[in-house]
C-alpha cells in the first residue's frame, strides 16, 4: 500500500471518529471537547509566536477578548446579524487591534515584548472594566441570540450542543489547518530563522520587523476568531472571562506543557490540561495550584514539553533496540 493512500485512510478514520464522537460521549463531554478545541487553537496561535518566531506574548487575551466583545456587541445591537458576520467581525476587530499594536511591538524582542504585550492586554482589560455602559463591566454582555447557519435549503440551529460542536470543529479546524500550512510556506521558514538568529535574517535581506508584525497580526486575528466562537458558545462575554491575565496564561501553559518545538504540541498540551483539570477537580478545589506546579516542573525538567519527552523516550527505545541487534 502506498504511503499516500495509508495517510488518506488515517485521515478518513480520524474524521469519522470526530463526526460520531458527540453521539457517543454525551452532551457534557461534547461541550468539554468544544472548549478543548478552542483552547487548542488559541494555544496554536500563541505558539505561532512563541515556538516559531521566538516571541513570548503575555497579552493574547486582548485579541481573544476583542474578538469575543465584537461578536457579542454586534449580536446584541444588530438585529438578525448572520453567523458568518460574527466570525468576520471578530476577525476584523482583532486584525485592527493587532495592526495598532504591531508597529510598537515589532521593534522589541524578549522580555520587553512580553512586558509590552502584557501592558497592552491589561490596558484593554481596564478599559473594558471601566466603560461599563458599553461592555457591561464585570457583569459583561449576556443573553444575545445565537444566529443559525444558513445552508440555503435549511437553517442549522447551533444552540444544539452537537451542531455547535460540528460548527466549532469546522471553523477551528480550518484555522488550525491554515496555521499548519503557514509554517510550511517559505514565510514559515523566515519565522523560524527569526527565532534562531534575527540578525542574520536581517543581513540576508529579509525585513525582520515587518515579518514579526505580520506574524503578530496573523496570530492575533486567529485568536480573535477563537474569541468570536467563545462568545457564540458561552452566550456570555465578561471581562473576567475573556480579558484577564489568566486568559493569556492558560493557553500559554497548554502550549508549553504540550511542547513548543512541534506544531501539534500545543494541541496535545491543551488536551493534557483538560485531563488534569478533570482529574484534579475531583480531589481539590485548587486546580490552578496543581496546574502551576506541573507547569513549573515542565519548565524545569522538560523544556520541550510532552512532545519533547515522547521524542526522547522514542530515541532511547530506538537506541536500545539497536544495541540489542
Amino acid at each position: 500500500m502506498s504511503g499516500k493512500l495509508k495517510l488518506t485512510i488515517y485521515w478518513l478514520i480520524g474524521l469519522i471518529i470526530v463526526i460520531i464522537l458527540p453521539h457517543v460521549i454525551g452532551i457534557v463531554y461534547t461541550n468539554v471537547l468544544v472548549t478543548f478545541m478552542m483552547d487548542a487553537v488559541f494555544a496554536l496561535s500563541i505558539n505561532l509566536l512563541l515556538g516559531f518566531t521566538g516571541l513570548l506574548s503575555f497579552g493574547h487575551a486582548m485579541f481573544f477578548g476583542i474578538g469575543a466583545y465584537a461578536a457579542a456587541l454586534s449580536l446584541t445591537h444588530i438585529q438578525g446579524f448572520p453567523l458568518i458576520g460574527v466570525i468576520f467581525i471578530s476577525a476584523i476587530s482583532a486584525l485592527l487591534l493587532a495592526c495598532i499594536v504591531a508597529p510598537l511591538l515589532a521593534r522589541v524582542t524578549g522580555t520587553a515584548f512580553a512586558m509590552l504585550t502584557l501592558a497592552f492586554g491589561q490596558l484593554l482589560y481596564v478599559i473594558c472594566l471601566k466603560f461599563r455602559e458599553i461592555t457591561g463591566g464585570e457583569d459583561g454582555i449576556a443573553g444575545y441570540d445565537t444566529p443559525p447557519i444558513h445552508l440555503g435549503f435549511t437553517n442549522v440551529d447551533i444552540t444544539d450542543p452537537t451542531n455547535f460542536y460540528y460548527f466549532a470543529f469546522v471553523v477551528l479546524g480550518l484555522l488550525a489547518f491554515f496555521m499548519w500550512w503557514l509554517v510550511k510556506t517559505p514565510f514559515g521558514s523566515v519565522m523560524i530563522s527569526i527565532r534562531d538568529n534575527a540578525q542574520r535574517v536581517e543581513y540576508l535581506g529579509y525585513r525582520v520587523k515587518h515579518s514579526k508584525a505580520l506574524v503578530l497580526i496573523i496570530s492575533g486575528t486567529v485568536t480573535g476568531i477563537v474569541g468570536g466562537v467563545y462568545a457564540l458558545f458561552h452566550n456570555l462575554v465578561s471581562t473576567d472571562g475573556v480579558l484577564t491575565i489568566f486568559v493569556s496564561f492558560y493557553p500559554l501553559m497548554g502550549a508549553y506543557i504540550g511542547g513548543i518545538a512541534s506544531f501539534f504540541g500545543p494541541i496535545f498540551g491543551a488536551g493534557l490540561l483538560h485531563v488534569f483539570d478533570e482529574l484534579t477537580s475531583r480531589y481539590t478545589e485548587r486546580v490552578d495550584l496543581v496546574n502551576g506546579l506541573i507547569f513549573i516542573l515542565v519548565v524545569m525538567y522538560a523544556p520541550y514539553g510532552a512532545v519533547g519527552l515522547w521524542w526522547s523516550i522514542k530515541a532511547w527505545l530506538f537506541k536500545s533496540k539497536l544495541q540489542k541487534a
Partner: protein, 292 residues
C-alpha cells in the same frame, strides 16, 4: 482657595506614599533584573506573601513591630529558596523559560495563599501608636501611619544605599549589574551574590508588603496593581537602573494620586500610556543602557 491647595498637598503626599512603596518593591526587581537579566514576574507575589506572613505573625504575637521585622525575612527566605532551587536550574534555558518559570511561581504562590488563608480580605489594624491624624498646617489632617510608611521607606533605602555605595559587597553588586560575566571571571562567586541580591530584593518587597498590609487589607489580589505598576516603573526607569526606578516610582505614584482625583476612570490607562509613550520614544527607558 485654601481647601484646593490642601487637596493638592494631600494628594501629593498620597502619591509620595505610594511612590515610596512602589520604589521599595521595584528597587529589588530592578537590581535582580540588572544582575540576572530576569524580569521576576513573581516579585509582587513576595510582596503579597509578606503581607500574609504579617497577618500570621500578628495572630501569634499580636505585635505589629515583630511582624515588621519577621515577615519580610520569611518572604526573603522563600525568595532565596526559589532562586537557589528553581531559577538557577533554568538559567541555561534562556530568558523565555525564566519568564515562564517566574510566571508559574506567581501562580503557585497565589493559589497556595488561597489554600492557607482563604480568599477573603484579612484586616490588619494599624498599631496603637500610629493611629490618628497629624495636623500639617493649612487645615490638613494627615494619617500618621502613611507618614510612617514614608519614614520606613526612607530609612530602608538610605540603609540600602549605604550598603550599595560604601561597602565591598555593594561594589561587587554594582559591578555585577554592569557585567556579570566579567565579575565572575575575576574570581567572585557570582551565584552566591545572585542569591543574596535575590534575597535582599524580596526582603525589600516584603517590607513594602507589611507596610501596605494595613492600608490595602490583605487579600489574594493585592499584588495585582502593585505588580503591574512595578513593571511599569522598572521598564520606564530603565532596566537595572536604581535612579531611573526611583524617578519613575515617584512619577507613577503622583500620576496615580492625581489621576484618582481628576480622572478616576482612566488611572490605569494613564500609567500604561505613560509606559507606552516612554518605550516608543526610548526603548531602553529613562536611564537604561540596554534593551530588555
Amino acid at each position: 482657595m485654601s481647601s484646593v491647595v490642601g487637596m493638592y498637598i494631600t494628594q501629593g503626599i498620597h502619591g509620595l506614599v505610594y511612590g515610596m512603596l512602589l520604589f521599595l518593591v521595584s528597587s529589588g526587581l530592578t537590581l535582580i533584573f540588572g544582575m540576572m537579566g530576569i524580569l521576576n514576574l513573581a516579585h509582587a507575589s513576595f510582596f503579597m506573601l509578606a503581607a500574609y506572613f504579617c497577618y500570621a505573625v500578628l495572630q501569634v504575637t499580636g505585635s505589629f513591630w515583630t511582624a515588621l521585622i519577621i515577615a519580610p525575612v520569611f518572604a526573603a527566605f522563600f525568595g532565596v529558596l526559589a532562586e537557589r532551587f528553581l531559577l538557577r536550574k533554568v538559567h541555561a534555558s534562556g530568558h523565555i523559560a525564566e519568564l515562564l518559570l517566574t510566571l508559574g511561581m506567581s501562580l503557585v504562590i497565589l493559589e497556595a495563599v488561597k489554600v492557607f488563608w482563604g480568599t477573603e480580605s484579612l484586616i490588619i489594624t494599624v498599631p496603637e501608636s500610629l493611629t490618628g491624624l497629624v495636623n500639617l498646617g493649612l487645615d490638613i489632617n494627615y494619617p500618621i501611619y502613611r507618614l510612617f510608611i514614608i519614614v520606613i521607606a526612607c530609612v530602608t533605602l538610605i540603609f540600602m544605599a549605604l550598603i550599595l555605595f560604601k561597602t565591598r559587597l555593594g561594589k561587587i553588586v554594582r559591578a555585577s549589574v554592569t557585567n556579570p560575566q566579567m565579575v565572575s571571571a575575576l574570581g567572585i562567586n557570582t551565584p552566591v551574590v545572585f542569591m543574596l541580591v535575590f534575597g535582599i530584593g524580596t526582603w525589600l518587597a516584603g517590607i513594602a508588603g507589611v507596610c501596605a498590609a494595613p492600608l490595602l487589607t490583605v487579600f489574594p489580589g493585592m499584588a495585582d496593581q502593585m505588580g503591574m505598576d512595578c513593571f511599569v516603573v522598572v521598564v520606564t526607569g530603565g532596566l537595572g537602573s536604581l535612579l531611573g526606578a526611583f524617578i519613575a516610582a515617584l512619577g507613577i505614584g503622583e500620576l496615580n494620586a492625581f489621576g484618582v482625583q481628576f480622572v478616576p476612570r482612566l488611572v490605569p490607562v494613564i500609567t500604561f500610556g505613560f509606559m507606552v509613550i516612554v518605550l516608543a520614544i526610548k526603548p531602553t527607558g529613562f536611564f537604561g543602557e540596554r534593551e530588555a
